[in-house]
């Protein structure tokens, strides 16, 4: 009777050891795979911290880069802090960097950091206040690929700043 109990106990202990060894091997193998799948990246994104997520429209990823158009941008006069909507449409393969340039003087009055696809900058600080009037301007959009930061095609969007 005692012998039988001893045998059963030994059998249970052996099974438990086998299970523990197997679990350890499984976990070790998984950790190695995770390490291999996360390569180092030399590209460091300089993201705009104020960019907020936009509501995503249902659409397939574009076969190119979607550029939003701004026939005019209305901002208040005599203040540097203004509300705009500079967006990088969802699904784009690149970060956007926005630069706002006054056409008549070639003066840059705003430059953003990188904006991820699906996000927009809504509050910006201009380099100077503008008095009321209309100012032809160019919104320059430069791009950087999401994976390695290489420059992709860009756009200059002509617009009119309506300062009121």
């Amino acid at each position: 009777m005692n012998n039988n109990r001893r045998k059963i106990g030994i059998g249970i202990a052996v099974c438990a050891c086998i299970l523990l060894i197997g679990a350890g091997l499984y976990l070790t193998r998984n950790n190695k795979q995770e390490t291999q799948e996360s390569p180092d990246s030399a590209f460091v994104q300089d993201l705009n911290p104020d960019a907020s997520t936009q509501e995503a429209k249902e659409s397939d990823p574009p076969e190119g880069i979607r550029i939003p158009g701004y026939p005019s941008i209305t901002i208040p006069a005599d203040t540097k802090d203004v509300t705009v909507n500079l967006m990088n449409p969802e699904g784009n393969p690149c970060y956007f960097t926005f630069t706002l340039v006054l056409k008549d003087t070639d003066e840059t009055i705003y430059q953003s950091k990188m904006v991820e696809p699906g996000k927009a900058i809504t509050q910006i600080t201009l380099s100077k206040e503008l008095s009321a009037g209309e100012y032809p301007a160019i919104l320059k959009i430069s791009t950087a690929a999401l994976d390695d930061g290489r420059a992709m095609n860009g756009a200059n969007v002509e617009t009119v700043l309506k300062v009121q």
């Binding site: 076969e63 190119g64 880069i65 979607r66 550029i67 026939p71 690149c94 420059a151 756009a155 200059n156």
Partner: protein
């Protein structure tokens, strides 16, 4: 008697409300600012020795624009592919819409598009070091009078 008074009172109330509703009108206006979305090719990378490749398309994805206006898309490029393998070498190229060199196009409605291609002269490839070649172009997008 009470019932008749209640019915009469209810009728008066309804008539009174109807009269006040029809007494004035309200005009509601809503202005939709013009806006648009343009799809442009993402990059310009050409495999070695290729003389003609597809370059994607310019397409108007959204267009809420005023009557008499249009969206103009122009190409800004030095039209020289640069070697991406660290070797010195530039290759002149041309961007075509169908068979003609693309410079600019105008659009008024969503869905309009221009299919683009890139061509490179065979002789240019012969002079160039091996490797892949690429360039970045800038699309100048403006909102102009259609009659300009």
């Amino acid at each position: 008697m009470k019932k008749k008074r209640a019915v009469a009172g209810g009728l008066l109330l309804v008539l009174g409300i109807a009269q006040s509703v029809s007494a004035g009108t309200t005009t509601v206006t809503y202005h939709v600012d013009p806006s648009y979305m343009v799809l442009v090719p993402a990059n310009t990378t050409i495999p070695f020795n290729e003389e003609s490749v597809n370059y994607g398309k310019i397409r108007i994805e959204e267009a809420q624009i005023e009557e008499g206006k249009c969206i103009q898309v122009e190409l800004i490029s030095d039209k020289k592919l640069k070697n991406q393998s660290g070797k010195e070498g530039e290759i002149p190229y041309e961007i075509l819409a169908d068979t003609t060199a693309f410079t600019k196009a105008r659009y008024t409605t969503a869905g309009e598009e221009t299919v683009l291609g890139i061509t490179i002269d065979r002789e240019s490839w012969k002079k160039a070091p091996s490797g892949s070649y690429a360039d970045t172009v800038t699309f100048q997008i403006s909102y102009v009078d259609a009659t300009d």
